[in-house]
Symmetry: C2
Subunit: 340 residues, 2 copies
């Protein structure tokens, strides 16, 4: 297979953390590189909100920290992203708006089963994630500390803060303001709502400083042109129920929402035994560095490394400032060295 | 009249800065206190986006800087706010979505005529405004420097930055995502769109720090309850075209968009001769202090005084932290002392 091809792993009926049963959960994933005979070179790299495994390739390649000639890198699609089990691809009676509530822990548990059942992988050299993917990385490191040897969380959080929840609720409200949404039973995509979501992202994902420096003008002729071309159409073609499912997973993300921690936030953070680097962006408007700092305080072997970037939530992400991407690559390299 | 009553001042047909003619512009306003025989105690206090003169009273009263026993305080409603000329109260052919584009300068010019024609006021002791009202205050001080003896700009800007424009475009997109909007020719209010606007404001107007400190829980039982009760319904009952008209005025706000400056931004700021205090909030997400600092740099007699508050864009505004309101009151007092 080429790295961009995608495999599927199907599970038997599975009870979710929220209590519902998902009949035939599927995780879609792509791998880069080869698993070593000792099965000790695996890296897990989940996707984020609105992305697929295709978007993970920016950190992977020869000469990069995530080098497929050395590591076996599993890029797994989050539940709800349209490739893994999602409202849009699940048969009745769990289709569309009837798709059950997914927790971060559900993603992590299925990912763990995938690694074990499909590849016999019991230990990860590293788990790395961005944004919602970082929430999964945190959960991995806290819930399965003996199976994770390094963790990097980029522009994410260990739990969704109240402000982030309000931000997410506003995105959902914009999408649902479109009567075409019809409570999730739409015949045609709610285009105006999807477009409004893209507009909101243009303001939230990029920082005031990004626009102040005129960085948008490197990609467009004007601010209107930038929003129209780079953002407004960004969610057109996505399935609205899929987006809402992922948003609701994000909304309820809380590292301590695991039977092992019973809501004890500090205990969950203390459980993260592996070396970890937590990398918020200085200008991220919905995952601000203050919240990462508060989490790192309770993690035994973690470093807060703020990316000093004007790129807001997109610092270090695909298509952003190469200098920031290099900073992320360097941090990955350090963690892999330590866990080697 | 009681201070909350509202008077109207009608003008003959007036050519707007954008070129259109407004047939019978009206400014609605309320006054507090009495004009001195020398007409030298007038303070102008315009409204802001989505507010009316009723909302201005939090800074006015005996013992406050804006003391009606000493000053004649004119609270004037912005064009588009539903009381002054607006899409919702203008007859055909300029009704609803056909209401002409309004610039900040149009508000300022009509306010100036109101003060002269109605009261014979040629000089202001002070012009003070919040948010969009601050944009009007800036414009007053730059366009009529010999007529303004003090200026206070609270949580606003001298021109709308690209990021702020993207933020505004996202609000408009959320409102218009509601098919009930019908291009502005709605029979019933586009309730879902108005509600989405309120949701967006809940995330934008209050800072991450506000929610991090749990200040929302002083007003509600939970974050959902806070958003539902304090914000989601906030724009229900407003006229969508009025809101869009004000947003478009805000969107194009630029101090230098005056024939006197011809787009020369620094020249416009240098023209502000009076003592001025520019008061952004440390945590304002769409009028961040960096932009105020950049403006103050070019103003001959201005001080940047950042409000160190967690209240985001609402720092110092009605119903916010009384300590911040006291800081604003103190700054008003200083300016009035200097212009006395």
């Amino acid at each position: 297979m080429t790295p961009l091809d995608c495999q599927r792993h199907e599970f038997p009926p599975t009870r979710l953390h929220g209590g519902d049963v998902l009949e035939r959960p599927v995780l879609a994933f792509a791998t880069h590189g080869s698993l070593s005979p000792a099965r000790d070179n695996a890296i897990l790299f989940p996707t984020w909100f609105g992305s697929t495994h295709h978007n993970n390739t920016w950190l992977i390649g020869p000469g990069r920290a995530l080098d497929p000639s050395r590591y076996f890198i599993v890029c797994v699609n989050l539940l709800g992203n349209g490739l893994s089990s999602s409202p849009s691809n699940t048969p009745s009676p769990h289709d569309g708006p009837r798709f059950p509530a997914i927790h971060v822990l559900d993603n992590v548990r299925l990912q763990r089963r995938l690694l074990r059942e499909r590849f016999g992988i019991g230990t990860l050299r590293l788990v790395v994630g961005r944004s919602m993917g970082a929430q999964a990385a945190f959960q991995w490191a806290a819930s399965y500390p003996s199976e994770v040897r390094g963790m990097l969380a980029l522009c994410g959080s260990a739990r969704t803060t109240p402000h982030n929840q309000v931000f997410l609720a506003s995105l959902a409200a914009a999408l649902k303001a479109d009567q075409g949404w019809r409570g999730g039973d739409y015949a045609e995509p709610p285009m105006a709502g999807l477009r409004a979501l893209g507009h909101a992202y243009a303001a939230w994902a990029m920082s005031p400083e990004f626009y102040r420096r005129g960085l948008h003008l490197e990609q467009a002729a004007s601010v209107d042109d930038y929003v129209a071309r780079r953002w407004a159409g960004n969610f057109i073609g996505r399935d609205a129920n899929d987006l809402l499912s992922m948003m609701s997973t994000w909304q309820r993300a809380d590292l301590s929402d695991d039977p092992a921690f019973l809501g004890d936030w500090k205990a969950a953070l203390r459980a993260i035994a592996c070396p970890a680097i937590v990398m918020p962006s200085r200008t991220d408007m919905y995952f601000p560095p203050e919240d990462s700092a508060a989490a790192v305080e309770h993690m035994p072997d973690a470093e807060l490394r703020v990316i000093e970037s004007a790129w807001g939530h997109r610092a270090g992400s695909p298509g952003s400032d190469p200098a920031d991407v290099a900073v992320v690559d360097g941090a990955l390299r350090e963690l892999l060295r330590r866990s080697g």
